[in-house]
């Protein structure tokens, strides 16, 4: 049995945790010894990577590194809409 996550919710979650990673990354550049920020970064980085893998599994990859092997004999990267298009991310 699979617990397929809702596409919209999963994408929103990816945006949320990715933003946490982006913002913590900038803070860490100028505060490289801040332990609280380091722990925060690693926590959200893990959540982000997991969410990207989940998304790729059900809805196609958002990055080339999360491309999963499937039974399809076609390159699917071009099939899902681009982020500026309707239905895109």
């Amino acid at each position: 049995m699979t617990n397929k996550p809702c596409r919209k919710d999963l994408l929103h979650w990816i945006n949320v945790v990715s933003f946490s990673v982006d913002d913590a990354k900038l803070f860490l550049d100028t505060h490289p010894d801040n332990q609280e920020a380091l722990a925060y970064f690693h926590e959200y980085s893990k959540l982000r990577n997991h969410a990207l893998d989940e998304y790729a599994k059900y809805y196609g990859p958002l990055t080339v590194d999360t491309t999963v092997e499937s039974c399809s004999d076609r390159w699917n990267w071009i099939n899902e809409p681009w982020p500026w298009q309707e239905g895109g991310c």
Binding site: D22, K25, L26, D29, L62, V64, W77, P83
Partner: protein, 207 residues
């Protein structure tokens, strides 16, 4: 090296076209204080930056600015998608349309093409970081000006996100300037340029 991620940093879903607003918002794509200039500024300055924290911040903010350029471009694309020739004429979008149809092209709201002269890469960390802090404030003011013209929450929402990021980037560049000054002679920050004058005891080498 960059890797593309097939999503926007902040989502854009605009259901009502508005060519007039598109022409104004376009300035944050290819205008003097826009995201393209911001990205090129930081990604150009970073190579000769002698302090690793600042090289990092220039790389990571320069990268985020590319994502912001994509958000602004998506707003313009959706505001002008499938416009009829009547709508183009009525909105005064005909002067843009004649050269670019409905494609994206970096120019200011007034029609000036994007130019590398919008930014400087001076090769002096104090000089460059002052420019970077000013650039973030100029972009913030531009977003404030845009927000006074925008009533539609579908457009205002991503613009507010971009505005907030300018404030955060300004903060990070301020910290970067402090890091640079901490490495210099506090009696005279301008005694030498750590990107050029490589005196043996200047303490400015990558630590």
């Amino acid at each position: 090296m960059w890797i593309y991620e097939k999503r926007l940093q902040y989502p854009v879903k605009i259901t009502q076209t508005n060519a007039k607003l598109a022409q104004v918002i376009m300035s944050q794509f290819g205008g003097p204080d826009g995201e393209l200039a911001a990205s090129m500024r930081y990604l150009s300055q970073r190579y000769t930056m002698p302090y690793k924290e600042v090289t990092g911040i220039l790389t990571d903010i320069g990268t985020e600015e590319l994502a912001h350029m994509e958000i602004v471009s998506s707003i313009i694309y959706q505001l002008t998608k499938d416009l009829s020739i009547e709508e183009i004429q009525k909105a005064g979008f005909d002067k843009y349309y004649v050269d670019h149809t409905l494609a994206l092209w970096p120019q200011s709201a007034g029609g000036t093409p994007w130019t590398a002269t919008y930014f400087q890469s001076k090769g002096d960390p104090i000089t460059d970081l002052h420019e970077d802090m000013a650039a973030e404030q100029k972009a913030r003011t531009t977003y404030d000006n845009i927000l006074r013209l925008v009533k539609d929450p579908e457009i205002a929402d991503p613009i507010r996100f971009l505005r907030a990021r300018e404030v955060v980037h300004y903060q990070r560049f301020g910290e970067s300037l402090r890091i640079v000054q901490d490495n210099l002679d506090s009696k005279n920050f301008y005694a030498f340029n750590p990107e050029f004058d490589m005196s043996a005891d200047c303490g400015c080498k990558n630590k």
